[in-house]
Amino acid sequence: MDEQLLKAKIPCKETGIEIRHTMCDICTPGLQCGVDAYVKDDVMIKLEGTKGFPSNNGKLCAKGAAGREYQYRADRLTRPLKRIGERGSGQFEPVSWDEALDICAEKFLKIKEQYGPEAVAWVCGYSKWLRPWLHRLTHSFGSLNFITESSSCHCSEVMSYSTIFGQFMRPHVQGAKLVIAWGVNGFANNFAMAKGLMMLKAHGGKIIVIDPRYTHTSEKLADLVLRPKIGTDGYLANAMANYIIQNHETDDAFIEQYVHGFEEYKEMVSHYTLELAAEKTGIDIDTIVQVAEMFAKEPKALIQPGNGLTHHLDGYNMHRAILSLMVITGRVDRPGGYFPAAETFCHSPGGFPGREEEFINSVKPKHCKKPVGFTRFPLWFDFINEAQGMDLVRQIRTAEPYPVKAMAAFGVNHKMYPDSEAFLEVLNELDFIMATEIFHTTLCDYADIVLPVKTSYERSEAKCYANKFVFWTRPAIPPIGDCKDDVEVITELAKRMHLNDTLLEAGYDEGVKYIFDGSGIEDWEAVKDAPLPVPAPNAKGAEPGSYLASGKRTPSGKIELYSETVAKYQDRGLNPLPVCADQDGGTDPGSYPFVLMTGARIATAIHSRTTGLSWLRSQTKEPVLKINPEDAEELQLKEGSMVRVSTKTGSLVLPVHITAEFNCKEAGLYHGFDEANANSILAAALLDPYSGFPAYKQFRCRIEKEGGAQ
């Protein structure tokens, strides 16, 4: 009987299996679903979602469900390593933590002494949980060169919202009756978001999907589907605005009271005729009119814009053009509109005043060199309190405006960077590299010291959720080998570099208590003991109207359709209005007739983090090049035929998957795979001049049958 219970993994006295509460940290910090780890003899033998948890209520996505394989991957790092061979050779010898940390501290201090504190780049990829601590360490070290992968994700949309509203905002889907899901497909990457739309639909709401791809959301929920050509969404948005203005469907009282630059905006969009939009997007005029009418006439119409919109050569303006539609119709700071988003801690809202910004900026150096990216992307720094990492490779290579000589890489993966091979090559020019990682990645092979770190199941971590809850885990299982957690590494470095930062040196728990000071929670051990997130006594939800009533943190004090911040950079060719630029991916359409969209999310992968998991790989076609049936026929391709996809930067050989998910002359490729790394063929120089973002979704390419026509 016991054997049967054991085989079925029943948690009970007879089996010795107990459930320990932890969280998943495989994808972004926005969700971080609650996980019940089934643990026997300190080994996780199964996991499932925690019932009653605010973000997932007992459910998990495919990636989260694969957490056990992630935890026990064969390439987990288990002890600190010191490189003994050439960079990239993978030859290491094990060293003690003391020796490894001493070497790192000594090297960083030596480089600081020789070149200045800015010569060390403190870079964070995934996981993201350590960011406030690494940011503070960077500042205490005397530099502003704190860099994250948000240089290519999330920050551009923060810029876009902040440009218009003076702060980050979020669409309030629960209060809407019509949602335009614009480049959004939560079925692949955020099931809570998809469920929000399912709920809306079940309650009689309408959904319009605007996306070049035909997605799960298009199929399952859309009342109307629009598929603009890749990169033309800005034309659609501006033409809709023009139509709405021409037909007097704007909220004039709202504009009069709260909006800055409407006349200039109105003049600008007047050039975006329905004819022009139809020509650029490939969508017929009647449909554009239909969407504009549906949007303008429904008082509770909401545009939910996807982050992928910012991954175009004019992604920042495209995103801004879309948000502007909500401004001219007055859908701001009211149910079903855009609400102020208070990111209390690690991009999550706690609903109480947090001190994360103070934690980071109270030690910000006042006199130091400008951060990486400043000369090239100055607008970024009006909104974002970190360096623009997409300029890092160039700066290391050229030492302009000053040399960067060392990198502390926390979970950094070269495959995230466009022209990924160039990122690896430039590492050879650094004097010292420290890498913390969960798994042994290619980048680790280039590091001088590699430090093994814990997964979320192995560490203790605090979070806040849903404007209300605070959660703090205890380790569910002991760490593999000799792993520490990233914040322990940061704290130890701070001590060994004698930065005299007592709060940082006090460790993670003290930092959390400082940041969560305003939560009203007093007994933190009780929070750690609680099986579920606990409500913070001081938490209160967003109050509609409070944003409009208080001053907007824009230069004009109003909601800016015409951005006074961008206006400072007109001499650099930046336009204060959300205009569209004709972008063709930097090459001529004749030689490169296809537009390649990389990185559109799939349900069974997140970047490169899950490509090593057999459970997910068994369910994943990728890496494949997705192309339309008509193109496949023209190229004489069958399902699985091998093709070469080439850009000006390089080429990849991989099988095709034939699908009408993509329109003709457009193709799709998910990133993160070693066998065919999408980002390795994207040019590093093709960046949005406003945000510095790579145009992951918009590269021209050529597709040829590999091995010639048969």
Binding site: L47, E48, K59, A62
Partner: protein, 149 residues
């Protein structure tokens, strides 16, 4: 208490969470040649020039009149009176694959490891202990459900 599995296609997006949860629950490892007892499929159709996607999660439905019970020459399959699930004892399995051929869902799988046919047991032991089957528990959209008869 007897149960039946219900699959609501309108709620499924073929995300594979059910497949992975099944492999986690049943210790199935693709690298060893194991197959999951569930599979997800996206079927794409073009109807009159319009694209249409079907998203499916397919596994044993523990049919009321189960073909596998009927056709197995070794009598491996039987009805569990307590749960109503179709369970099996594959000691006598000769891997003739008749169960697979006759199953409308192609649910039984051949295990390289044991050299015999295996299939979903509805997580019967979990259900008897008041827990949901792993696939039902994980499904983010409640496309898979276990209903009491």
């Amino acid at each position: 208490m007897r149960y039946r599995f219900v699959f609501d296609e309108t709620r499924c997006s073929a995300c594979s969470a059910c497949v992975v949860a099944c492999m986690d629950q049943k210790d199935l490892y693709p690298l060893k040649g194991d197959l999951s007892f569930r599979r997800c499929e996206t079927r794409e159709e073009l109807k009159g020039g319009r694209i249409h996607m079907r998203y499916l999660s397919i596994g044993c439905m523990h049919c009321e009149s189960a073909k596998c019970i009927e056709v197995c020459p070794s009598g491996c399959f039987f009805r569990d009176e307590e749960t109503g699930f179709v369970l099996y004892d594959n000691t006598d399995c000769i891997s003739c694959r008749k169960c697979l051929e006759e199953c409308p869902f192609e649910a039984p799988v051949f295990s390289e490891d044991s050299g015999k046919m295996e299939k979903c047991d509805g997580c019967a032991e979990r259900v008897k202990h008041g827990l949901s089957p792993a696939c039902v528990q994980v499904c983010p959209f409640d496309a898979l459900q276990l209903i009491e008869n």
